[in-house]
């Protein structure tokens, strides 16, 4: 399949379970090497084939990844999680000598406000609730300042209010960068007027606006095929 993203674009990746959405993100961030095909980052002038790089190099290039399960560092405090995620020189010596400057402090504090964890910054991340961990991870990604942000099911397992808040967060994030979001929650996807890519069995099925996608018969068939109800795509999925 072919997937092209424009700078500053918000793209939703949907598809039934096992369609290969997570795998797609894994390829983009280098966790999985593709058996064939390329991942070109930044196009034209300074293009890089990311599929040949190691994970930490890809992250340094500016591709950030949020995993499906919240993966923060439980033994570190919220504050410390953000501190190490911050964009910085990641050499051993540089990190040893690193001082948190006033500017860094401001960035972290602003981020804590944004993700709503300002009053929990000294708490060990392992003690946070599921939703809070997700936000912390989003906050870590923001401080990492990637050009491309890959989010795998950021609202999975969240309560309605948490989902609401995450939506707000997402709206702020997409203003500045390219974002790919894997999502099951159609209601959530519909709130963002953006392009949607539907995957099925590891392949591209349909690409277009939410409305175009909803109207597509093949999508209705495979995506919610089990319900045998094409209308489901439009209503309660």
């Amino acid at each position: 399949m072919d997937l092209e993203l424009q700078p500053g674009e918000l793209r939703f990746l949907i598809g039934p379970n096992g369609a290969g959405k997570t795998t797609m993100l894994d390829v983009l961030c280098g966790k999985v090497k593709p058996s064939s095909g390329k991942v070109i980052f930044r196009g034209r002038a300074n293009a890089v084939d990311v599929s040949k790089r190691r994970e930490h190099e890809i992250a340094r290039l500016g591709i950030g990844r949020k995993f499906q399960t919240p993966s923060v560092f439980p033994g570190l405090t919220v504050d410390e999680n953000l501190e190490i995620a911050m964009s910085q020189n990641r050499g051993v010596w540089a990190v040893l000598r690193a001082k948190t400057s006033k500017f860094d402090r401001m960035r972290i504090e602003a981020n804590l406000e944004l993700i709503g964890l300002a009053d929990k910054k000294r708490l060990r991340a392992g003690l946070l609730s599921h939703g809070e961990k997700q936000w912390l991870e989003i906050g870590m990604l923001l401080l990492q300042e990637p050009e491309v942000l890959l989010l795998d099911e950021p609202v999975a397992g969240m309560t309605d209010r948490e989902t609401e808040k995450t939506g707000e967060l997402l709206r702020q994030i997409v203003r500045k960068r390219t974002v790919v979001v894997v999502e099951h929650d159609m209601e959530f996807v519909r709130r963002f007027a953006s392009r949607v890519t539907v995957m099925h069995e590891g392949k591209l099925l349909k690409e277009g606006t939410m409305e175009e996608v909803q109207r597509d018969e093949r999508v209705a068939e495979v995506y919610l095929g089990r319900r045998r109800d094409a209308d489901a795509v439009g209503s309660t999925a």
């Binding site: 961030c29 966790k31 190691r54 994970e55 930490h56 992250a59 340094r60 950030g64 990844r65 995993f67 399960t69 919240p70 993966s71 560092f73 439980p74 033994g75 570190l76 405090t77 504050d79 410390e80 999680n81 501190e83 190490i84 995620a85 964009s87 990641r90 050499g91 051993v92 990190v95 040893l96 000598r97 690193a98 948190t100 009053d119 929990k120 000294r122 708490l123 060990r124 392992g126 003690l127 870590m140 990492q144």
Partner: protein, 373 residues
């Protein structure tokens, strides 16, 4: 869960505790017999090794069961210097027995104390970097890494026993007389060596503390919690693991040097499997992931060992094994964890401070903890 910041009062108590401990150590020559002082000095040397091991295991999550090798290398480096000094201008005695006519080239520079002391630290660090390069970069970790460190022990042990011409074989190196021309057994020398060890331990402690408190320390703990996740933040974990391994090995080497000065002998048995495992037990029982725990574990266990060996020489290994089981099952935080629990709210400190993520038993979704220590 309320946030419990470090209180000024708690900080003061802690500082007072450290101060008292240091005073107690510095005054030890006044109230300990020569024999007891020598024993304490040996324990403090072990504590240096324990600090290094804790940095690697407690903070970075890498379990080495091969630190006896690094300890031994440091010990041999110092022993070579002492042996040359004891032999005067002549060949070391054991070389004559095995038919070596001329001092091997690599023994030659060990005439210099500075060279020997530097090698006692540099060689273990280089060996660790070398080993780390081939393991961590290839993502060999957890149990597999630990097994490799055991293989290292066997290889080096066999090498040192086999190369009797150069190493003194099973007997190792002993029969030292002087250091800087001063008899090793003189009371003045004993006291000086004791203070040197205290200084060494203090330096090692401050170094580890600096490392642990720096952002590097946070990255090390992050690697412990989820090595893979760290990669996606743009860090190359293998470099950090290599660095932690090298520092840890260097500290073991330093400990080995002091050990030789206090004990007067180094043999391959000091770098065998059992001593390597014992080092890990000091850390586990003292309190993994806290620097003071490593020191306390090494000192308490070795004092206990000598106490117990005096009365029941055969019991020690059983006792140690039993203690380890008790500690893992009932005291996951080690002695330090126990004290903190007993101290209650007073002992509860800033959660950011030196605490293991596992104490509350969270799940590790992306990267499970790589070892089950």
């Amino acid at each position: 869960m309320p946030v419990s910041p470090t209180t000024t009062r708690g900080r003061l108590w802690l500082l007072a505790g450290y101060g008292a401990a240091l005073l107690l150590l510095l005054a030890a020559p006044l109230y300990l017999s020569d024999f007891r002082l020598n024993l304490l000095a040996k324990c403090l040397a072990f504590a240096i090794a324990a600090l290094g091991l804790d940095l690697l295991w407690g903070y970075t999550g890498i379990l080495s069961l091969g630190h006896g090798v690094f300890f031994g290398l440091g010990g041999y480096a110092m022993a070579m210097h002492l042996k040359l000094e004891a032999s005067g201008g002549k060949l070391p005695d054991f070389m004559g027995w095995t038919g070596v006519a001329k001092l091997p080239w690599f023994w030659e520079p060990f005439r210099s104390f500075a060279f020997a002391a530097a090698m006692g630290i540099v060689l273990p660090a280089l060996l660790a970097l070398f080993l780390g390069f081939f393991t961590f970069r290839n993502r060999i970790r957890g149990v597999y890494f630990t097994i490799l460190t055991q293989a290292l022990v066997i290889i080096v042990f066999t090498l040192f026993v086999g190369q009797q011409k150069y190493t003194g074989g099973t007997n190792g190196l002993t029969g030292f007389a002087t250091l800087f021309g001063e008899p090793l057994k003189s009371p003045g020398m004993k006291t000086a060596l004791y203070f040197a060890t205290v200084a060494g331990l203090l330096a090692a402690f401050l170094l580890c503390r600096y490392l642990v408190k720096s952002r590097l320390g946070k990255v090390l703990r992050a690697i412990r919690d989820g090595e893979n996740r760290v990669r996606f933040l743009g860090f190359d974990p293998s470099l950090y693991q290599m660095a932690a391994f090298a520092v840890s090995a260097a500290l073991a080497g330093l400990a080995g040097m002091f050990f030789v000065l206090h004990v007067g002998i180094i043999s391959p048995s000091a770098m065998a499997i059992v001593p390597s495992v014992e080092m890990v037990l000091w850390v586990a029982i003292g309190g993994r992931g806290t620097l003071i725990g490593a020191v306390v574990g090494a000192v308490v266990l070795n004092e206990a060992k000598s106490g117990l060996s005096e009365s029941f020489p055969d019991m020690w290994t059983f006792f140690l094994g039993g203690l380890f089981i008790v500690a893992t099952v009932f005291l996951p935080g080690g002695l330090v964890g126990l004290v903190r629990q007993l101290a209650g709210p007073f002992g509860r400190r800033n959660p950011s401070h030196e605490q293991l993520g596992e104490s509350s038993g969270e799940q590790q979704p992306v990267a499970p903890r790589e070892h089950s220590g």
